[in-house]
Subunit: 178 residues, 2 copies
């Protein structure tokens, strides 16, 4: 951030009164511009014993498989974001279940939230950001080709919980890759 989005003048880094850390503050109008982590919401859509995955058509991780998920928009809830992203990326309609995983990724200042969901019909298809959409049974999951660690974790938990017969909400924080 170099310029003030309110007045167009240059911003400088300084600690505002009553604050503890440097912020981008406008040198002309004094506006303080805060940067905050972003929320990503998505779904784990189930049909019988299978889960719906999308193969990404865009970077990052183009060509890899993921659950339908994306950045929350202004004015929506995490659940609404998960339903919208599933429609956009997989053209799929779901009935949302419970919030299932919340994964902190402080290195990239993101929080990923995945809901369990029931796929309502089989009329899914790749959206603009997907190359392919497909249902996978547990033994078919392309574990080596999953796009993101938060998605990998959510899928691992899902199959383990399903085998155990009950599902548990989980929060995780992922550190840097070693």
């Amino acid at each position: 951030m170099k310029y003030c989005s309110a007045c167009g003048a240059e911003v400088g880094l300084r600690v505002p009164a009553g604050d503890q850390r440097p912020r981008h503050v406008c040198t002309a109008c004094g506006s303080i511009h805060y940067l905050n982590p972003k929320l990503v919401a998505g779904a784990l859509p189930i049909w019988e014993d299978k889960v719906l995955l999308c193969r990404r058509a865009i970077e990052p991780r183009s060509g890899f498989w993921t659950l339908p998920a994306g950045f929350m928009e202004i004015g929506e809830s995490t659940g609404e974001a998960a339903i919208r992203e599933t429609l956009e990326e997989a053209c799929a309609r779901i009935e949302l279940g419970e919030m299932y995983t919340l994964v902190n990724l402080p290195q990239i200042s993101q929080v990923h939230i995945i809901y369990r969901a029931r796929l309502l019909d089989l009329d899914f298809a790749p959206g603009e950001e997907s190359l392919e959409t497909r249902l996978f049974a547990e033994h078919e999951i392309p574990w080596e080709k999953i796009a993101f660690r938060s998605i990998y974790l959510s899928l691992r938990h899902y199959f383990k919980d399903r085998a155990n017969g009950h599902f548990l909400f989980r929060e995780e924080t992922l550190g840097a890759l070693s």
Copy 2:
């Protein structure tokens, strides 16, 4: 948002290629500026049968009581944010328990997350953004003077769950005040 934070030129609202909704796009350098909901994280700090509340010294809701909570910073996890906010607003050290409530507030594009926590000592005191900090037993809680609905709900759930002998993670979405 009127000006591009990357180059200082004017931004206009238009739908970028492959997108479905209008964004603030720079008329000069083409940068797309996304707006996203913000995460607030906080704690419900317990000492014996009492909960630690802070009376707000700042707007919004100055003079009303709340749990220590605030906007997540870049580079931290939701749990780290809850610990930091408790230290900043109540000068209190806590041991974090489980994530307890996640409350969507789509009208103001915020998501509030509250953790259960154990207060580690009684050396708490008002931070810069608080007028007063105090422990409250259930019958002492100033229910009419609680600053935010997400905090009110989290406290209600807490005392109900405590009476029932077990705590359950809960997601809620709050609509407009009627």
